[in-house]
Point group: C2
């Protein structure tokens, strides 16, 4: 992960005008589990196998940074007063608390644009086909049919009784789409067979859902200091969760079933260099933050 941290540190311009660079860096650096970048790099490793290709490695590094920028921007906007109105994130004051709402809004906007800038370097030797495919995957997963759409459903669901299908649909967009895109973007940095892509797709789908189920569990069982963000806020905000829907024990069982499904997807991919993807799936389900 040092490569990703170094690249983010180097590529988010501290000189961006009027404090914007500072706010962007604050939103991204020194924090977060970096799950999405890790998924990109692990999927790249899986499809690369024993073959080395420095341009595709660079593409994967850029994709890893880009998904993290999208994730970071979504947190900045999500924390704003008109959304979740949260003051604590990754153990620090949220961006709007630190820099003001207007700067937070702009920093989020600029981080989204920067993600696509990362994916389309003019002189890195990355094939145009890879650049275009990475942009396509990221745009689709971030937009109305992905993350932003899921957030809209989430907004509209406060105080509403969702059933399990509706909850799953919301999360498959809100968090699942970008997690799955991270896997598929890593896979796009290499020549993957249809079988491999289909297995990775199953892996990404199950993992995305498992992530959310475990998030809902942690929101109930962990404290704010461990999480680095406000715990118990789903219940406080009257938001539907897997725990409120299934109960705590059934939610835990479900998370482990999803882990099994993710690993079955890896098996079905026919890929052999899947150690990192395997370990990440375990880590998503067995974690305490």
């Amino acid at each position: 992960m040092l490569r990703v941290e170094n690249a983010l540190t180097q590529w988010i311009d501290p000189q961006a005008p009027a404090g914007l660079g500072e706010a962007m860096r604050y939103a991204v650096l020194d924090g977060g589990k970096r799950l999405r970048p890790l998924l990109v790099l692990a999927a790249r490793e899986a499809v690369a196998g024993d073959q080395t290709d420095s341009a595709l490695d660079e593409a994967a590094l850029r994709a890893a940074c880009a998904v993290e920028l999208i994730h970071a921007y979504s947190l900045v906007h999500d924390d704003m007063p008109c959304m979740d109105n949260d003051v604590l994130r990754r153990g620090k004051p949220t961006v709007h608390v630190q820099f003001g709402e207007a700067q937070a809004l702009l920093a989020g906007d600029a981080l989204q644009a920067l993600a696509f800038e990362f994916l389309t370097p003019a002189h890195a030797g990355i094939a145009d086909s890879v650049q275009a495919k990475l942009c396509r995957l990221l745009a689709t997963s971030a937009g109305h049919a992905g993350m932003a759409g899921g957030q809209a459903i989430d907004l509209a669901s406060v105080g509403v009784k969702l059933n399990e299908d509706q909850l799953r649909h919301m999360h498959s967009l809100k968090t699942g789409a970008l997690l799955q895109a991270s896997v598929m973007m890593g896979a796009a940095c290499g020549a993957a067979s249809e079988q491999a892509l289909s297995g990775l797709q199953r892996y990404g789908q199950a993992l995305g859902l498992a992530f959310q189920v475990v998030d809902d569990i942690l929101d109930v069982v962990a404290d704010s200091a461990t999480l680095g963000k406000t715990a118990g806020k789903d219940a406080a905000n009257d938001k539907p969760t897997y725990v409120s829907l299934l109960g705590l024990d059934a939610a835990k069982t479900y998370a482990h079933q999803l882990l099994d499904q993710a690993l079955a997807g890896l098996d079905a991919s026919g890929l052999t260099h899947t150690h990192a993807l395997h370990a990440l799936a375990q880590r998503v389900v067995i974690r305490n933050t």
Copy 2:
């Protein structure tokens, strides 16, 4: 322009979840001068000359829609209470007034993502190199070194006395970058020589600046009903403008000098099919909304 309106109407999904599609469509459809799309199509026309190519026409149409989405999202976010707190835009209530702040924030975010989705269709026959270049141009012009960066400077400039160089720098980012990118994206939908690109660059630079000078003039001389947005708000917000800096008459003279510079850029491009670009430059300077 009918093609752009039709494409926007068709491509912004009204089914996007939980009212998000409705807010996105409200932000984009039925309004605006569509200057940026017109610049894309006019630049495509200039570089295409007598050659027809349906894939490149499609690329230009997508680019035209994409720049308008970026422009529209920036207006949605710019109008929000934490930024300009404006209630009127294109003669209608602003998006956050109509749909609430949270939905406005999300709609803006989703519009930015959708712009990059428009540029990277999987099955439209558009060369990967064109898709990648369009994404690169758009991302750079929208982000911290372009529009978002200019907005950050603008934010930091309220009540501050900027000199002409500083004001020009702010506007070259805030509005100039996307206008210039519109021209260069149109040019990317064709095979333009270095000479042509350099002439178009000069055209775009001068036009972008002229646009802002005229905007500042209109903010003083026009009324809200004609503008379709709140007039006189720069002075009310104590924002520096070309009029406050140069005076009204000198600002008008400057706008016409910039028009001459833009047209000189066209002449220098060596391109012949520049009627539309020529007419657009005239329209930018001689307008009343």
